[in-house]
Structure formats: C-alpha cells, structure tokens
Symmetry: C2
Subunit: 391 residues, 2 copies
C-alpha cells in the first residue's frame, strides 16, 4: 500500500471535489452552458489576479503563457531585459531569442534575487529595452523576487514589467493593478490545485496597446485572438472544457478561503519548514529572499538530493523535488503551495528527517517536527482567535 | 481550506481508485456482467477470510451481519454466551434478546478482554449454550481478544464460535479455517477501505448445518437465502452494485499488498501510537490486550475527550473518535486500520499532541512524534531489506 503525498512545487495535490468536476458530463464549448462557466470563472480570476483587466485562459502549461507574453510585448528586433537566477528566469531568454527579440539577460547565482540595483544597472546597460521579464518566485531555487519594487523602477523608466507567477501566484502576494504590473501569468497545477493543462494571463491597458503595435509571430497562443474572443466570452480555439469545470470548482474553494488567507497559509507553512531546517542544522539555498512557494534545503556533502527525492517517491510515496542543473544533487525542494494543510506540512518534515537519516545524515528525528508544530499550532490558534472575534 | 484526515476506527479513508470505481457505469445485478464481478470478489473474499467456505455479502452495515449470524446460529429459546466488554460486545446480547434467544452475558470492564478463564466459567454457568459470540477487536475500547484460544475452548466444549471481525478483520490475524471459527463477519468501511454499506459473513460447515435446523426469523438478511443464491453467484435481493464494483478494486489492492502485510502495517502503526502515548506520559485503556485496530488513550482529568475530538474534527479536519458511554470523555481512539500510511500515523500523533496542548495538557510537542518516527522508520527499513532480499 502506498499513498501519494505531493510536496512538489507543482503539480500539487488535487482536492477530491476538483477531481470529480473533471468527470462531469462533457459539454460543448460553443454553447450558452459553457459561456456561463466562462463568465463566472472570468470574474473569479480577476479577484485572484487582483485586477480589473481580463484574465485570458490558455489551454497549455504555464510555459505557453510565457511564450504568449513575449510575443505580445516584444516585437522582433526589440530589446527585453530578463532576470536569470534559475531555470525559469533562463526560460524568458530562450523564448525571447526564439521569437527574434534581443535579450539582455541579467544572470546571477541561484541563491540571489532580482533586485532594484540589478535592474537599474540593466536599464543603464540596455536603456532601449521595451520590457522587463521576471519571476514572482523562481521555482528552481525558491527565491522570491521583490516584484513591487521592481515594478516601481520600471514605471519610472517607462518600461513594461512582465511577471511569471506560475508557481508564485496564489502562494505569494501579487496584486496586479495595485503594483502596476503589465503582464501577470500563472498555471493550473500549482496554487490553483488543478491538473496541468491551463495557463492564465492578464495584460494591462499599456500591455494591450503594446501588443497592438506588431503582428503575432505565434498562432495558437496569440493573445490578440484570445482577447478578441474574450469579449464574447469564448476562446479562439477549442476550450479545455473539463479543466475549466475543475477550475470553476477550485476558484470557488479559493475565494471561499480568501486569497490573503491562502497566501498567509503558504507563508506560515514556509516559516515552519524554514525553522525546521534550521533546527536540524541545515542551510537554505533561498535564505536571502525566501519565497513562500517552496523551501530549498541544501544537502550535506554525503547526501545526494536526487537520490533522496527518488527514494522518498519510490519507496514512501512522499514527493519532494530535487534540484535542477548544477543543484540537482544539492537541494531538496519542499513545496508550501496548493492543497496542503498544516498537518501535511508536519508530515513532510517528519518524512524529510527520516529520509535524511536513511541516507546517513546526522539528524535527530523529531527536532524539526517540534519547531514546526510550535509554529503551525501558534498559527492555528491565531486563526481560531480571529474567527472567534469575527463572530 | 480544510482537508479531512480520518483516523477513526471506521469509516476509514477511501482510496481514489476505490472512490472512482463507485462512479462506474451502473450495471444490472441479474446479468453475466455482474456475475463475473460476483465470482471474482467471492474468490478474493475467501483469501481475505482465509477460508474455503463461501463468504456471503450483505447490503447493510456490519450490524446487519451480526443480526444474520444470531438468526442463523441460535434458535429461539436456545442459549448463547456473549462477551460484553464494550458497546459491540453488548450488541450481541441485545440482538440475541430481540430474536428470542436466552443470553448469558459475560460482562467485564472495558479495559479487560474475553479470555479463556472467563469462557470456561461461562460454560460452567451456562453449559447448554449453543454458541459463543465475541469480538476479534472491541471497537469501543481497542481491546483485542484471544480468538484462537477462545476457539480452542469452544471446540473442546462442542460450542460454535461466532466472531465479529467488523473492525478487526484485515487489521488483525483471524484465519477462519485454521482457527476453526464457525462464523466470521466484517463490514466494508473499516479495513476494506470502502464507504459503509456492505457486510461480509462466512459460515463453517457446522454453522451451516446448525442454521438448517431452524427456520429464519428475519427476512432480508436471512443467510439461508443468501447461501442458496450464492451457489448461483447472485444475491437474494438487489445487489449493492456500485459498492461491489468498489469492493472489487479494494480487494485487488489488498491482495496485491498481501493480507499478512496489511496486518503487519496495522500492528506497527499501533506500536507507534502506543509508544508515542507512553512517551507523552499517557496511559492506554486497552493496555492489557491491545488490538491493532485502534489505540484508546486515557485522558488526563482536565481534558474531555469528546471536546478534543470535536475540536480536531471541526477546526483541523483531523478525525479521532472519543469514547462511548462512560468513556465518552475519558478516551481518545486513534485508528490504525485501512488506507493509512506510516506518515499519516505520524501526522495523527503530531495533531494529537497539538490538540492535547490546546486543551491545556502538559505535553511536550514532538516527544511522541519522535518515538513514532523511530518505530515506523525501522519498519520501513525492514520492509526495504525484505524487498531487496526477495529480489
């Protein structure tokens, strides 16, 4: 008997009610029936993105929305600044080059973040860039970026700012309109608790205007077509009907919990894992600017992260993510996002301790769990008080 | 956001694959299609019950099979010996009286078990009893009874032995044929990992002969009709089609794991919870003869079990069972049966510690978790070695 407990930074665990919604009767996407779901979801996505702008839904993974964003914002031959502090920051550059843009890449270590100093330097080095591309959370490292501050610099320099919130949105604060973000995008298999298959992307008025200035280089995920069809509450191509029905249920759950409460939950679970790692005498790769999507714990020399992750997955049904590229064997990434409660976070820490011990690390079982219990219990009690005083 | 983690001694958690099987296309119960499932399940249930006898499936909860057993084994006016060390032992007596039997009830404290000394005394006090009714595991207390030894005494005294394995079967050893048990029964919502709704019951040749000696007093769950229809691989009345389809999947899972492995898993999880309670300085109600279905932890005077269970359920989605009757506020019952892995057992202990602390008990967080981690990890490593040596 082996159950699956996913602590990976996507895909995350899918609630039973969301899974069931994927088994609803198939309906046709060019019907009033589907239109009603489209319109309900459209309103809810605006709440999630904290925007008045339309949020377009693509049938593809988060990367499809990244490509769509580059196509929309940067014309061929135009310059774009990208932050590369990990696999996903790197992806902006790769997409940009493929679509004929001139990429000015700000590269730095995976333990570092995209900060305003780096941005100001980039703007000096590449003053005619039209837009800045960054991650809310770099999934490869767990680093959270100061998107609000980056946006302020972009505003002053009159540059568009594009934010990949694939793993970050709905785990970390990212109010699109308040912070003046031009493009925000996310994917379905992270904080949204869905299977993979949908991507969501919203464009500011300025971004839409910019998009109108050059023709599309891509066809399927051309946001001009998506935007035009959105006015009629439909998609350009066949809609992801079942995933949409699941999205509708997931959004009901999320809005019932409240976006700020979800973000708080991820933050506290992040605090618990960070404190547990510290109690176990371990360092974090993302200590400088920890995002609340995941925590990346640096392995001692005698433990290979990829082997630990493989072992936990194969033998215990516990899913952690090892590192990527140079960090493949150096970090274990434990997610805090999506359909994960405080008690499962404790389970994750207990399993991590046991796995470390299995691989010969000097770990005292229960030491990390104890501090996590304290932090998570304090939060549960705090929530309790809030609920009581709210009547 | 609140998930449900069931650590109650039934209903237990239902695996996704079993849940999905309940949504399969409805089929008619008088068809070759259903007959094929019936026959497959019939073979598998014999493996589970460790018997060559037919295992009859009733559409009802476990109690329906208890009533059917009394009807089958004890004619009106005949005497029966029942062991009452809890709610479920008590039930044998209530059913017996309702069906016109003369009940000789052996009553004792909930911290005690049905042992051979009590049985021998009962056989002296009531020498003309036709059968002895006991529990493999008394769910009210978590006491496991020495069914093998009780059966030996029954054999010598030429009495039939009827075993309620509703919570016990598939968590504790109970080989029907090897131990010479005359009736063994169970329910679907325990170790079988199904929703409530099915009961299974098997009768020895001797029990079948006894049943033939008097007419049925009940109609719907008359085992004479069930047995006759079983020869044609069908039920007397409408079959529980969807539950049957779920049963088929659950049995596939259980036999793939292996009955002895399941029993071992429950035992080790029981060991972990027992050791955790001890580490926390708490006593067990079922310490004298702990079954592996559940552990009943005695509460300190300042913590009311029913309030603790209600709080965990309502606020945290963690399901423990409080006590019943006089023990309502005195014990917390934590289950080890069904679809529960070692990591969830750790979660249960962590949550229990936190709940105790919430209610003001002097509990050091993580202390029980630590010893549970050690026990469960040792078992995981042991399983690993076994698997490796099995090649």
């Amino acid at each position: 008997m082996q159950k699956s407990h996913l602590f990976t930074p996507g895909p995350t665990m899918v609630p039973g009610d969301v899974a069931l919604a994927g088994a609803k009767d198939m309906i046709h996407h060019r019907t009033d029936q589907f239109k009603a779901i489209y319109e309900k979801v459209a309103k809810q996505l605006k709440v999630l993105f904290e925007t008045k702008q339309p949020v377009l839904v693509l049938l593809g993974s988060g990367t499809s929305a990244m490509e769509a964003a580059v196509d929309a914002i940067v014309a061929p031959g135009e310059k774009m600044i990208t932050f590369n502090g990990g696999k996903f920051g790197e992806r902006w550059g790769k997409i940009g080059k493929t679509l004929g843009c001139v990429v000015h890449e700000v590269q730095y270590g995976w333990d570092d973040c995209a900060d305003t100093a780096k941005l100001e330097q980039a703007l000096k080095d590449c003053p005619d860039a039209v837009a800045v591309f960054c991650q809310l959370n770099e999934t490869a490292s767990g680093i959270g970026n100061p998107v609000k501050e980056l946006a302020e610099v972009c505003h002053k320099a009159d540059k568009l700012i594009v934010v990949d919130g694939i793993s970050g949105l709905s785990a970390m604060k990212c109010p699109m309109d308040e912070w003046g973000l031009d493009v925000v995008l996310t994917g379905s298999q992270k904080g949204l608790m869905l299977p993979p298959g949908l991507a969501m992307i919203a464009l500011s008025e300025k971004a839409i205007a910019k998009m109108g200035g050059h023709p599309a280089r891509i066809w399927y995920n051309d946001l001009r077509a998506a935007l035009k069809n959105d006015e009629k509450s439909t998609h350009a191509w066949t809609s992801g009907v079942s995933l949409y029905q699941q999205l509708s249920v997931a959004l009901d759950m999320m809005l019932a919990e409240g976006i700020d409460n979800i973000i708080h939950r991820c933050h506290v679970q992040g605090d618990a894992v960070r404190a547990a790692a510290k109690a176990l005498g371990l360092e974090l790769l993302n200590a400088k600017s920890p995002g609340d999507v995941l925590t990346s714990i640096l392995m001692p020399d005698n433990v290979k992260a990829s082997e630990l992750a493989k072992y936990c997955r194969g033998h215990w049904g516990i899913y952690f993510a090892a590192g990527q590229d140079d960090y493949k064997d150096k970090i274990i990434r434990i997610g805090h996002l999506g359909y994960q409660d405080h008690f499962e976070t404790i389970m994750a820490i207990a399993a991590f301790e046991m796995a470390m011990k299995h691989f010969g690390a000097e770990i005292e079982l229960g030491k990390g769990v104890k501090v996590a219990q304290e932090i998570l219990m304090a939060d549960l009690e705090e929530q309790e008080k809030k609920a009581a005083s709210a009547g």
